[in-house]
């Protein structure tokens, strides 16, 4: 395998992994606060359609991205209102959000299927992108990919060194204790959910404005679900989310790679790899109960009532 091919595979891996990384980072923060939002796929699609339509009509990619983020946040607020405000079952609410988002995005986008826009172009950093092998992967990407690197470091720092990160972890582990010592449980959870929405919206915009600049119904193709699996795969550790996102990205372009190398393996079979990997990780995780209990946010998915 020559170095150019390898360099291109790595480049495509990061590009494909970027929406996964964004959604998974958002969901990670959300789950750390104890909220399980299964509506990622719906928020992702809403971000994609709103971002695309806004970019198309305004002619500005920035407006497209901003409105994509806004769409994700609005969807997440809807989730927050039902699951946090009314303490509804988080799993059911999240599933409903996905179904709702899938339908609504198809409705909004029906007029715009197949229309082209000028997507976001890669922006190669001089010199750095010339580094052999990893230069193209890390420094010849578009701005959203660079932003995803920055967001990764921000979330990593947030949980490692910031007080707010500590509060999020505490709220996710024991909301009653958090309330007793005066931490704002509900507000923290709302913010975490909204961050998740913003990230999913941004990822949606990335799909329809940069990754493949067009709108097609259900274009996220299950990436929201993969990102959810990814958080478990990463056992709620930020650095593993990055690794996992790129790994999952690689798995979903593997069929192209194999084609290039002259092997013929069913692309459908290869596409199951991320899920198989997640199941494997789940099994490995639950073998060691101490680790499993310490890693997952303890109150994940449990509604919180201040006076119980």
């Amino acid at each position: 395998m020559d170095i150019d091919l390898l360099s291109n595979i790595l480049y495509a891996m990061v590009r494909t992994g970027t929406p996964l990384l964004l959604v998974a980072l958002g969901e990670l923060v959300c789950e750390k606060s104890g909220v399980l939002n299964l509506g990622q796929e719906g928020m992702l699609l809403m971000g994609a359609v709103v971002g695309f339509v806004a970019a198309l009509l305004s002619g500005s990619l920035i407006i497209g991205f901003l409105l994509a983020i806004l769409a994700g946040v609005s969807m997440s607020l809807l989730f927050g209102l039902i699951a946090l405000g009314f303490s509804a079952n988080q799993v059911a609410t999240g599933l409903a959000l996905t179904i709702f988002g899938t339908g609504l995005s198809a409705f909004i986008g029906s007029e715009f299927v197949g229309k082209p826009i000028d997507g976001l172009d890669p922006f190669a950093l001089p010199l750095l992108s010339e580094i052999p092998l990893i230069g193209k992967m890390l420094f010849a990407q578009d701005l959203v990919v660079y932003l995803s690197f920055a967001l990764f470091f921000a979330v990593y720092w947030f949980f490692r060194s910031s007080r707010a990160g500590l509060v999020v972890k505490a709220v996710g582990e024991n909301p009653h204790a958090a309330n007793a010592i005066g931490l704002p449980v509900m507000r923290t959870r709302y913010f975490a959910v909204m961050f998740g929405g913003a990230m999913a919206g941004l990822a949606g915009g990335y799909l329809s404005i940069a990754y493949t600049p067009l709108w097609a119904e259900n274009m996220s193709a299950g990436r929201g679900w993969i990102a959810l699996a990814l958080v478990v795969f990463a056992s709620w550790k930020v650095e593993r989310v990055l690794l996992g996102a790129w790994l999952f990205g690689l798995a979903s372009i593997l069929h192209l790679v194999f084609q290039g190398l002259g092997f013929s393996i069913s692309s459908n079979l290869l596409a199951t790899l991320p899920y198989a990997a997640t199941i494997l990780v789940l099994v490995l995780l639950s073998r060691n109960q101490v680790r499993a209990r310490l890693l997952a946010p303890i109150s994940l998915g449990k509604p919180f009532h201040a006076n119980s």
Binding site: R163, L166, V167, K169, A170, E173, N174, H176, A177, A178, A180, I181, G182, L183, Q289, V290, R293, L294, I298
Partner: protein, 517 residues
């Protein structure tokens, strides 16, 4: 209006009233806490202690009444505000985060004042040394013992300037020795001018520690006194009123032949935070009560699970009834062989919350002829439930009442009554009076003694060491899944059992004990 006070009390409550649907938790409560005073708030479960301290700490808004802080009216908005005023609180159920370190836990509670973590860790070390509470700031909380966790809660209050420290039943999770250490710390704090509100239902501790006491009964102040000038009996009277019997001393007896024999019971726990049982051996004799003491989480649950048959054990010979090994038998088979079991959790294990008392009576009573050819004999079952209610004075509208609607004490009387009415040869009771008022506790103790005198073997596992000394004929303690030596109750002391609870099983006896041994 010239009050004789030169300095006003640190905290004054005037006419605090809090009404919940169906119950008046606090009814016009007045309370004064002076600076540097250790003030006891004494009362039974449900007397309104918890509500009152939540009012002080800003977790509950009172419906009427006012708070004066250093003589000035104040409205405590929330716990953060309370902390800003200098009010600290140690909860009975710790508000700690297991996956975070000691320093992180404390930083969370301090809010923005926490500063950077290394400096805070240094401060935690200083404070814990000053008050004799050894604590490593870098440990994660899940690796700490219960006593150490309480230290985290206390140190959390002390790293900030503090004027009033509220402790809710702080000794219920401690060994007697740890209680002693805690009292030294609290006295030191009071000498430095900090007021302490000590919430408890343990009379001895209140008499040993507190300068003044306010007693609550059914949401009202039923008395104020200086505890050292009162006897435990007179304090108890103020707590329970005149018409409730207060427990007495029971004669100690010698058992006869062993009924339950446990030999080398070893079991690895499946729960990551559980305790492994290590080669436990003991007998429970017919006609005696064996008490097993220990701080929660030292293998009690695991031992009870193995004895009741809920958890499987590998070595079937480890548990013997007179007719042979029962280690392989299911709970039902063990019941058929004469065992009865009262688990720790009343709702969910001892009784099904949403089922009527009648149906709950059937749940373990079905072996006594309440089920014929697979069909429930409803009439008999109702009679059985009615007998339990009458004989053990369970306060309830009738047999169709849901178990969940009974108070803890009444439900416990019902559960224990249900087991005793089946005339077991062996009764295993876990924490039989936990969270139960004095009246019900006395009734339960009397029922156990009566059963003992009828010749049953009884095993009581409890965290309440006073209770065990009161009713047990022999006593031992669990620590880290190991069982201490077992001694006849009159031949041991609270100090010795306390050492056992802390894991010191050594034969390092005091001269007096050596002489009597």
């Amino acid at each position: 209006m010239a009050e004789p006070h030169i300095t006003p009390p640190r905290l004054t409550l005037r006419g605090i009233t809090k009404i919940y649907p169906g119950c008046v938790a606090n009814d016009a409560i007045d309370l004064n806490i002076e600076a540097a005073e250790i003030h006891a708030l004494l009362g039974e479960n449900g007397a309104g202690k918890s509500t009152l301290m939540k009012v002080i700490y800003g977790l509950v808004k009172p419906d009427h009444g006012e708070l004066l802080w250093d003589g000035l009216p104040i409205d405590v908005r929330d716990p953060a505000h309370a902390r800003k005023l200098g009010i600290g609180m140690v909860f009975q159920h710790f508000s700690l985060f297991e996956t975070l370190t000691v320093t992180e836990n404390i930083a969370l509670a301090l809010g923005e004042d926490a500063g950077d973590l290394p400096a805070l860790a240094e401060r935690i070390r200083e404070v814990s040394e000053k008050y004799g509470m050894a604590l490593n700031p870098d440990r994660e909380v899940h690796s700490l013992s219960v006593g150490e966790r309480q230290r985290v809660e206390i140190v959390r209050c002390l790293v900030q300037p503090i004027k009033l420290l509220i402790l809710d039943e702080p000794t219920s999770v401690l060994t007697p020795q740890e209680v002693g250490t805690l009292f030294v710390t609290l006295r030191q704090l009071a000498e430095e001018g900090c007021s302490i509100l000590f919430i408890s239902h343990k009379l001895n501790e209140v008499r040993a520690l507190c300068h003044r006491a306010t007693i609550l009964r059914s949401g009202r102040v039923s008395g104020e006194c200086i505890p050292t000038e009162e006897s435990s009996e007179s304090l108890a009277r103020m707590m329970v009123g005149d018409d409730t019997p207060i427990s007495t001393d029971y004669p100690k007896v010698q058992g006869r032949e062993p009924f339950l024999q446990v030999r080398g019971l070893t079991r690895l726990s499946e729960d990551p935070f559980g305790v492994d049982l290590q080669s436990i051996s003991f007998d429970v004799q017919a006609g005696e009560i064996l008490g097993i003491a220990g701080v929660a989480g030292n293998g009690q649950e695991e031992l009870l699970g193995a004895l009741s048959g809920e958890d499987e054990i590998e070595n079937h010979d480890a548990i013997h009834f007179p007719h042979g090994a029962v280690g392989q038998l299911s709970p039902r088979q063990r019941r058929a062989a004469g065992m009865a079991f009262v688990p720790e959790e009343r709702l969910g294990r001892g009784a099904v919350p949403d089922m009527s008392l009648k149906d709950n009576a059937l749940l373990t009573g079905f072996l006594t002829g309440l089920v014929k050819r697979g069909l429930i004999a409803h009439g008999k079952t109702r009679d059985f439930a009615e007998q339990i209610i009458e004989r053990y004075r369970v306060k309830t509208p009738g047999t169709e009442t849901h178990a969940a609607s009974l108070s803890g004490g009444n439900l416990q009387k019902f559960i224990i009554g249900r087991e005793i009415m089946q005339q077991p040869k062996l009764l295993i009771a876990a924490h039989p009076t936990w969270g139960v008022d004095i009246g019900a506790a006395t009734a339960i103790h009397k029922a156990l003694i009566e059963l003992r005198d009828q010749g049953a073997a009884i095993l009581v596992v409890s965290e309440d060491i006073d209770e065990l000394f009161q009713i047990s004929d022999r006593i031992g303690a669990l620590c880290h899944g190991r069982l201490s030596p077992i001694k006849a109750t009159p031949q041991t002391s609270i100090t010795e059992v306390g050492r056992w609870m802390a894991g010191d099983f050594g034969e390092s006896m005091t001269p007096a004990e050596t002489a009597s041994a």
